[in-house]
């Protein structure tokens, strides 16, 4: 008879322990998670908490530099820049999250089909992705929005299309290398259908690298969407959105009213920076070998 209780047994370190370990050894990732939480909170509760109505104009109080009453100053028609910057978080995050979600789903489906069945589907998909990648991606997004029509939904679709190749290629590669793996054959032998094997046995293996891709991609998607609205596509004034606010503020920078463009620009940078840090951190958690 032995006295060992289950807790004395040597345990395999689980996923949660690994995550905690990585977060403890890499405080930057922890900070990134904190920044991410802040962004999510300002997207959720920002519109309810900001001190001023982001659309309320006040001509008597225009172009005021930052002060206690207006932390980020006021713009050319007296709107509070701080309120507008915070309220814009929701729209900017929605655009990028929706775009990345669409490219995630479409890329997964296309990648699974090409990677699992191969053959013609694979060849056609690869040709198609090559063609998308043959365009400078931001320029392609411009062309798509110009063709589909100038609206926020079309900004989302355009951003989704230019991001999709990255996901489709990733899934295709992950599915392809496992197509004939032992556990897949075992599952097939046990009578599972192709679709079931694909969904329950193969595809989940592609999820960790996909999550990293998502996080790195979100930052890029925000940059793209803001760039598109900076050149006057998608979001139209007076909607509060970082790209368009920087574009409007740019007219005042040469006369010294820096706060109009700088604060929304800084917020945009902050969001992109958060997602990039988060992506690097997630990569450490998912794949310790790829650390740089």
């Amino acid at each position: 008879m032995s006295d060992t209780t289950p807790s004395d047994l040597p345990r395999q370190p689980g996923n949660l322990e690994h995550v905690i370990y990585v977060l403890r050894t890499n405080p930057v990732t922890l900070i990134a998670f904190g920044m991410f939480t802040f962004l999510i909170l300002s997207a959720l509760f920002g519109p309810a908490l900001v001190p001023y109505d982001p659309l309320a104009t006040n001509a008597g109080n225009a172009l005021q530099p930052p002060s206690w009453a207006h932390w980020f100053g006021t713009d050319q028609i007296g709107r509070d820049v701080f309120s507008r910057v915070i309220v814009a978080t929701r729209l900017d995050l929605t655009i990028s999250v929706a775009a990345v979600a669409i490219s995630f789903v479409v890329g997964s489906i296309l990648g699974c089909i090409a990677g699992y069945w191969g053959g013609w589907a694979d060849i056609i998909l690869n040709r198609f992705l090559d063609t998308i990648m043959a365009f400078p991606l931001f320029v392609l997004a411009m062309g798509i929005v110009a063709a589909l029509g100038n609206s926020v939904e079309n900004i989302i679709y355009a951003t989704a299309i230019i991001n999709m190749p990255f996901y489709a290629r990733l899934v295709r590669a992950e599915v392809n290398i496992r197509r004939d793996a032992g556990f897949v054959r075992a599952a097939k032998l046990a009578g599972s259908s192709d679709l079931r094997v694909l969904a329950t046995q193969i595809y989940p293996n592609a999820l960790p690298p996909m999550m990293v891709q998502v996080s790195l991609n979100l930052g890029w998607a925000i940059l793209n969407a803001a760039g598109l609205s900076f050149i006057g596509l998608g979001v139209s004034p007076p909607t509060a959105e970082w790209g368009i606010m920087v574009a409007e503020g740019a007219n005042f920078i040469v006369s010294g009213e820096w706060w109009l463009a700088v604060f929304p620009g800084l917020w945009l940078m902050f969001a992109v920076f958060t997602f990039n840090l988060l992506g690097d951190g997630l990569r450490d958690i998912v794949d310790p070998r790829k650390r740089t």
């Binding site: 040709r127 198609f128 090559d130 063609t131 998308i132 990648m133 043959a134 365009f135 400078p136 991606l137 931001f138 320029v139 392609l140 411009m142 062309g143 798509i144 110009a146 063709a147 589909l148 029509g149 930052g219 940059l223 803001a226 760039g227 900076f230 050149i231 006057g232 596509l233 790209g243 920087v246 574009a247 503020g249 740019a250 920078i253 040469v254 006369s255 010294g256 820096w258 463009a261 700088v262 620009g265 945009l268 940078m269 992109v272 920076f273 990039n276 840090l277 740089t292």
Partner: protein, 344 residues
């Protein structure tokens, strides 16, 4: 004769591989112009068009014919260099683009040159001295570079160097009003002014170019520095470097003749991706600095719904990008002696 030169054959093969890509690009831009929901005749006739002029555009462009026929017409027009008529300028889109392309190329190529000249040494230094301040600087530059929106960097630079310090010229175009633009030879103001021997104009053009080129370079620097550092680290930890060191070769020889040459290959590959980013960011930088290139042409066209101009711009950029990638791959064969001798 072809078989006698495997390298030449590899080059021809690579050029041939670009053909399906070009076909794909043309198909996609055709789809973008014609086969979309909504009536393309309405787009191309412009915002101010009435029923009659829409109908006129439809017949003139052959939009009343079936899609495959339209595609053949489209390809036929393209082969003659016809990208349609710009509504805002009244000139053919191809002429407008050709007039403005040198400005964009001058900006983009200067920026890429700056980025490579700074990023490659930075990456090499960071890789050879891990943990020192150079390494940390490289990491900061790389992380900041990918997070900075290009248009925002441009505006910050204008604020600091034009408004606060007053050392940069006003961010309006390629040349200040006090100078006459140099005679058109290449369209590159720096080259044309130098050809004329007009030092004053050359200096004026260079002054205008510094800020936009720096903005674009800051953006493209990050991926190049990151890749150089990673590739250099991989090369330095490989067996042939150990062998070279064991054979007693000098540090310099090991570093530059063996490690750097091998590290260069992935860096050149990244340049393709960097070009894609640079051509996209170019549009934003041109808007910020009122640079009269094809990017700001497209932005102006977008504002007035001049679709032929926008789609012509998209196609031109894609073809430019395909050509740049081709050049990079050919460069690759020049750098890497193994390519071309293997059976491909």
């Amino acid at each position: 004769m072809l078989a006698s030169s495997p390298r030449l054959r590899a080059i021809l093969l690579r050029v041939a591989q670009a053909i399906p890509v070009v076909i794909g690009v043309v198909v996609i831009s055709f789809l973008l112009t014609r086969a979309l929901p909504g009536d393309p005749a309405v787009y191309f006739a412009g915002v101010a068009a009435d029923e009659a002029s829409i109908e006129e555009t439809r017949v003139a462009m052959g939009l009343d014919k079936p899609l495959p026929v339209q595609f053949l017409h489209y390809v036929g027009d393209l082969l003659q260099g016809d990208l349609g008529q710009s509504l805002s300028s009244g000139r053919p889109v191809a002429v407008d683009l050709a007039n403005r392309l040198p400005a964009s190329l001058e900006l983009t190529l200067t920026a890429l040159f700056l980025a490579v000249v700074i990023a490659v040494p930075l990456g090499v230094l960071a890789a050879t001295r891990p943990g020192t301040w150079v390494d940390h600087l490289c990491r900061v530059v790389v992380t900041a570079g990918v997070s900075l929106p290009t248009f925002f960097t441009g505006i910050l630079l204008i604020y600091i160097f034009y408004y606060l310090m007053g050392i940069a010229p006003s961010p309006l175009g390629r040349l200040d009003f006090i100078y006459l633009s140099p005679d058109h030879v290449t369209g590159f103001y720096l080259i044309d002014a130098a050809l004329m021997g007009d030092l004053e104009t050359w200096r004026g053009a260079a002054k205008q170019l510094v800020l936009p080129a720096t903005t674009l370079a800051l953006f493209t620097l990050a991926p190049i520095a990151r890749m150089t550092r990673a590739a250099m680290l991989t090369a330095l930890s490989s067996d042939f470097i150990r062998t070279a060191r064991a054979a007693g070769l000098s540090n310099r020889t090991v570093l530059y003749r063996y490690a750097f040459r091998n590290a260069l290959l992935p860096v050149v590959t990244t340049l393709g991706m960097v070009f894609s980013f640079a051509l996209g960011a170019n549009v934003l930088v041109e808007k910020v600095f009122a640079w009269p290139g094809i990017g700001s042409y497209a932005v102006e066209a977008l504002v007035v719904s001049d679709y032929a101009a926008v789609q012509g711009f998209v196609l031109a950029m894609a073809l430019l990008f395909v050509a740049l990638n081709l050049v990079i791959d050919l460069l690759y064969t020049a750098i890497d002696p193994r390519i071309g001798f293997e059976a491909q």
